[in-house]
Symmetry: C2
Subunit: 322 residues, 2 copies
């Protein structure tokens, strides 16, 4: 089970390597929402998302010999780039398995960090078989995207830094997909501020974590139809869920149009770029503002990896999932 010393150790490994991202505030937002909002801008992190923290920590904790055989990851999104960059920084080979329909920008970025990218057809090929074959052939270490203690610990440094820089908070809202960031942040926040309320935020149509938390067991759903492509996980990870069920108060859900509203606010008033999943916690605060009235609320802005053309399509309403 993830514990606070794991996060402290990850913070020491990341010092001088990860950006210490700024905590942003907006008096306009505070006035609109009736609370004080402190936002951890992980869109300004290396490779554009908090995923770098977990990927780097997971590669760093491997032994030298293990690392020299290389690392392997499966991801269509930010975790691919995180592991590729972490491997390059450690001078070890990386093999990233990505679906052939992953965005061209993300394929290019992953290759740009020096990783070997293996594409597969997600409709006809079996990911597990590819993984088994790769592991047999190459003997490298597999770095899972969230159900992995070093990944959870690295991602938990997000809340550690936020609280160090912002001071006491009454509540913390964290973007939630597989639960790596949420579980890590919950451990850090509840250790530093035992009275804090920690919430997850997920798209309304992909509310598997809300269902899981309320039922007390992991619920698996169909691949959710949402613009929040970083949160299309079908089920929370087993190890994250062990943390989340104990330390997280509730999971808040958000309709896609409110996510777009949060992206627009971030652009026009805060001058920053958020990808849909990166705006989900801010959108959850907008959607559920009455619950946080008069309080000091921390929010993760978890990523900004979105091409300018897709951003325009979402803002203009040309892209929806309806």
């Amino acid at each position: 089970m993830l514990a606070y010393p794991d996060i402290e150790a990850a913070a020491a490994r990341l010092r001088g390597i990860a950006h210490r991202t700024p905590v942003l505030t907006s008096r306009t937002l505070d006035a609109q929402l009736g609370c004080q909002v402190l936002m951890k801008a992980e869109n300004l992190q290396r490779m554009g998302a908090f995923k770098f923290r977990g990927g780097y920590n997971a590669v760093n904790v491997l032994g030298e010999a293990e690392r020299s055989r290389g690392v392997i990851a499966f991801s269509s999104g930010n975790h691919a780039q995180a592991v590729a960059l972490a491997a390059r920084l450690h001078g070890c080979p990386a093999t990233i398995v990505m679906p052939s329909d992953a965005p061209a920008l993300k394929l290019a970025a992953t290759r740009g960090y020096g990783a070997e990218v293996i594409v597969y057809d997600r409709y006809t090929q079996d990911r597990a078989a590819i993984a088994a074959q790769l592991a047999a052939e190459r003997g490298g270490a597999l770095i899972p995207p969230f159900d992995h203690l070093p990944v959870m610990a690295g991602q938990g440094t997000t809340a550690l830094e936020l609280i160090e820089d912002a001071g006491p908070l009454d509540a913390l809202i964290v973007c939630a997909g597989g639960g790596g960031l949420l579980s890590g942040c919950a451990v850090a926040a509840r250790h530093l501020l035992p009275g804090i309320e920690v919430y997850g935020a997920e798209p309304e149509r992909g509310n598997d974590m809300q269902q899981s938390l309320r039922r007390g067991e992991i619920v698996t759903i169909e691949v959710p139809r949402t613009i929040c492509d970083g949160q299309q996980t079908q089920a929370v990870g087993r190890q994250p869920f062990e943390v989340i069920r104990r330390l997280v108060k509730d999971v808040l859900t958000v309709p896609d149009p409110v996510v777009v509203e949060a992206m627009r606010f971030a652009f026009e008033r805060m001058k920053i770029v958020l990808e849909p999943s990166g705006a989900c916690a801010l959108a959850a605060l907008m959607q559920h503002r009455e619950r946080f009235a008069g309080r000091r609320v921390g929010v993760t802005l978890s990523g900004g990896n979105i091409g300018i053309e897709r951003f325009i399509a979402l803002i203009s309403g040309a892209e929806t999932v309806d």
Copy 2:
């Protein structure tokens, strides 16, 4: 003549009031340009631009009695919002005179800060006459946008903070319009790092400051046709020029398409929003990269006040001045 103690005093006044904006770095940019770039993100400043520093300092240095009669400013852009917000923070009235064709967003934002906005027709009405009448009627203090020592001193705190946070720099490139930011930053930078080379950056079609510096006297030009609406000044201010002629090495010019390229890079790789004038110094570094090869270069990202629709028009090429 502006001196370093003026900037130190302004920094003390701004402490806890202005945001200490982050210094951003991008290894991708460093690799592309062949130098190490340290960017002061004043787009994340209060009201979205460095102008807040000058406006606040100028209102703050007024005596209580003078301030109670209110402050007056003429501006179609960020200076209007800066003075309006500074006045509100001091609890004094503000009158802002803006052309009737100023962007609706900026008119609304200025009113949103509690200022009285007086609009005039810039083609048929005389700004100077309006100013004289207002001063006679109301007796308030006029806060000029750049040719004013407290404004220059406040804006110079941008370079002071950048150097405190980034450490030694070989060169500094500053967005230049009327010269308030450039003169303030030159005084701060050359005091802290006597060997630093300070450059201004302006749009190619509005190169009055380059002409003025090279001729050694202030050159006045027609209103320049450029997308950089914050740099459509026709001549550098007298007091800024006294500083610039002594402390600034050269002024670099940039064609509009390179400004758009810098805005796109900032969006896609740095996850931040820059208005055209706010991207001008970064664009100048892109355009003149060979001059800075292998060096540590500071850059001001001076503002991010741009509506999402105009941003899209510029990026898509729908808006140009040709």
